[in-house]
């Protein structure tokens, strides 16, 4: 469903775009998300997943959320299994090719307990981009003729008035909320991202609310000293939460790599009896810890040091 332009403008107009402090904790950030929202997740697969915020949304027992992302990994299993969301729009969904097909995803989709709407990877990116640009669609040249397109109700084909070629139009996506984890940002929400940015920039510009989790909060002076390093502007941001290791067990570029032993453990745990396994996982790592640091402690300092050592190594070349 494409937002009509005046409605999109109204929602943006109503936002407080002033340069203001937005630092809050995970619980406060979770309150910025309403049941029924469409939530876009930054990062891709096992990289820069805003896990700390997802963790707090699951603990807050949110309902009827729709999620979209470039590529969905284990967070998709947890979204379905925790019951906070019943629909995910993405291009690929499983922990990662080396771990095989997600048994939890299979359980929910094969039994029609939840919906995985499959879009081509580029079409997901262009939907966010159209939303970011304030236009109702983007033209593209892939997907035509495939069953991926055939199964999506919200696509239009047109004949290009300039060239006479057949062109596919994909609908703009303006998420209610985007959850994005970054390496650094200031307390106003000006964010610097290192390495791979995935679809995060378009996502932030397209969304009607943005919540940043960040490894570090830096001063606005530091931002203003190299404004060409800012990738997300403060006025798109509604909440800033400082959460070191906020992507665990996934990667944060240049800070820590994925927590591979933990991801192997999860894959093993959900292999035989997916639902029993994922419930056990949620109970142990999501519902019982008092806070995020206790969650990290459960995963263990050995894994944290190992992933951090590998993460920093990118700068050793």
């Amino acid at each position: 469903m494409v937002l009509d332009y005046l409605e999109l403008r109204r929602r943006t107009q109503d936002r407080d775009k002033s340069l203001r402090e937005k630092v809050m904790n995970l619980e406060e950030a979770a309150n910025l998300v309403s049941d029924g929202d469409h939530i876009a997740l930054g990062g891709s697969t096992a990289s820069r997943t805003s896990f700390a915020l997802l963790w707090s949304l699951i603990r807050a027992k949110k309902k009827f959320l729709t999620f979209s992302r470039s590529i969905v990994s284990t967070e998709g299993d947890l979204i379905f299994a925790s019951g906070i969301g019943k629909e995910i729009q993405t291009s690929w969904f499983s922990q990662g090719i080396v771990w095989g097909v997600s048994r939890v995803m299979r359980h929910f989709t094969e039994n029609n307990l939840a919906t995985y709407k499959e879009w081509s990877h580029m079409s997901m990116g262009l939907r966010y981009r159209a939303g970011a640009m304030g236009v109702p669609f983007m033209p593209m040249r892939s997907m035509m003729g495939s069953d991926v397109a055939g199964r999506l109700e919200n696509l239009k084909e047109m004949i290009c008035p300039f060239t006479g070629e057949k062109i596919l139009l994909v609908p703009a996506l303006n998420p209610d909320v985007a959850l994005i984890h970054v390496q650094r940002c200031d307390s106003f929400g000006n964010a610097q991202l290192d390495g791979l940015t995935f679809m995060d920039i378009d996502m932030a510009m397209a969304a009607n609310r943005v919540i940043l989790t960040t490894e570090r909060i830096i001063s606005n002076d530091q931002i203003r000293r190299s404004p060409d390093l800012t990738k997300i502007p403060f006025f798109t941001v509604d909440g800033v939460v400082e959460v070191p290791y906020g992507c665990v067990p996934h990667e944060c570029y240049g800070v820590y790599e994925p927590f591979f032993p933990h991801m192997d453990y999860y894959a093993e745990l959900t292999r035989k009896d997916p639902m029993k396994g994922v419930k056990e996982y949620l109970d142990r790592f999501y519902y019982s810890p008092k806070n995020w640091n206790e969650y990290l402690a459960l995963i263990g300092i050995d894994e944290i040091f190992g992933a951090t050592q590998r993460g920093r190594s990118i700068y050793d070349d």
Binding site: S70, I71, H121, Y128, R129, S142, S146, L196, D202
Partner: protein, 256 residues
């Protein structure tokens, strides 16, 4: 010297045979798994000037041996890269025409080169829901394709259950008519043979791997496959190729 066909795994054979299909100076868009490994192998052997693109947004990296990324979206993919861009930008390079070869793996393929990585069985009520397209659909829609996959009857079917990544659709002009006026399937590299496509977009055998018989190929294919009487044969993997490959993947992440 060459070595015995039982001294390497079929994944190793897949890697080496598909690596050979890549030429120096090309820009190749490589998927995770065998393609990532084979493209890196080609870069180490005959194609040092090969530019590899990864879906995560990496342009021209040098993968570090023993540090193979489990996906194409991690920092391991970016080692010594020339440039990093967004996922959308790197995929748009396919559409803009900067990619010479699209290179991916496949779960199920049919006689017109259509790939399925979404559903096994009935789409509304599938026996298996697979992970899906990722960039596969975009790569196959927009570029000249090489696909590396093991040849088995259940994988090489007359008609895929679901067209995730388009080959020649129903053959003839159906791909062009659908709006896909560029790109298309070029080579399917399996553990048995190198396959290509005729002018109608129908799969045919181009060459057999050492020691493989035409019957073996037919037995492992779910549809009728044209094989020329005096079909050519590929050269067996060399020690140099095998040792270079094993240096890249010492933990056998992909070549097990």
């Amino acid at each position: 010297m060459t070595i015995k066909a039982d001294s390497f795994t079929s994944s190793e054979l897949l890697c080496i045979m598909s690596a050979r299909a890549l030429k120096d100076g090309q820009v190749v868009f490589a998927g995770v798994g065998i393609p990532l490994l084979a493209a890196t192998l080609a870069q180490r052997l005959h194609a040092p000037g090969l530019t590899i693109l990864f879906e995560g947004g990496t342009i021209g990296p040098h993968i570090v041996p023993g540090e193979l990324p489990p996906t194409t979206n991690e920092q391991r993919c970016t080692r010594k890269a020339n440039m990093l861009v967004s996922i959308t930008e790197v995929l748009l390079l396919l559409q803009r025409g900067y990619v010479d070869i699209g290179f991916m793996g496949g779960a199920q393929i049919d006689k017109f080169g259509n790939l399925n990585s979404s559903f096994i069985g009935n789409v509304e009520n599938p026996s298996v829901r697979l992970p899906g397209t990722g960039g596969g659909n975009d790569i196959a829609s927009l570029s000249k394709m090489i696909v590396a996959m093991p040849q088995e009857k259940r994988r090489f079917v007359d008609k895929v259950d679901f067209i995730t990544s388009p080959g020649y659709l129903n053959g003839g002009s159906t791909r062009k008519d659908s709006g896909l006026i560029s790109g298309g399937m070029y080579r399917i590299v399996t553990d048995l043979a190198i396959l290509g496509f005729d002018e109608n977009g129908r799969m045919q055998v181009e060459a057999l791997h050492p020691g493989i018989t035409t019957d073996q190929v037919k037995e492992n294919t779910g549809f009728e496959l044209k094989i020329d009487e005096n079909i050519s044969r590929t050269d067996p993997p060399t020690e140099g190729e095998l040792s270079a490959l094993r240096i890249l993947d010492p933990d056998k992440v992909y070549i097990a």
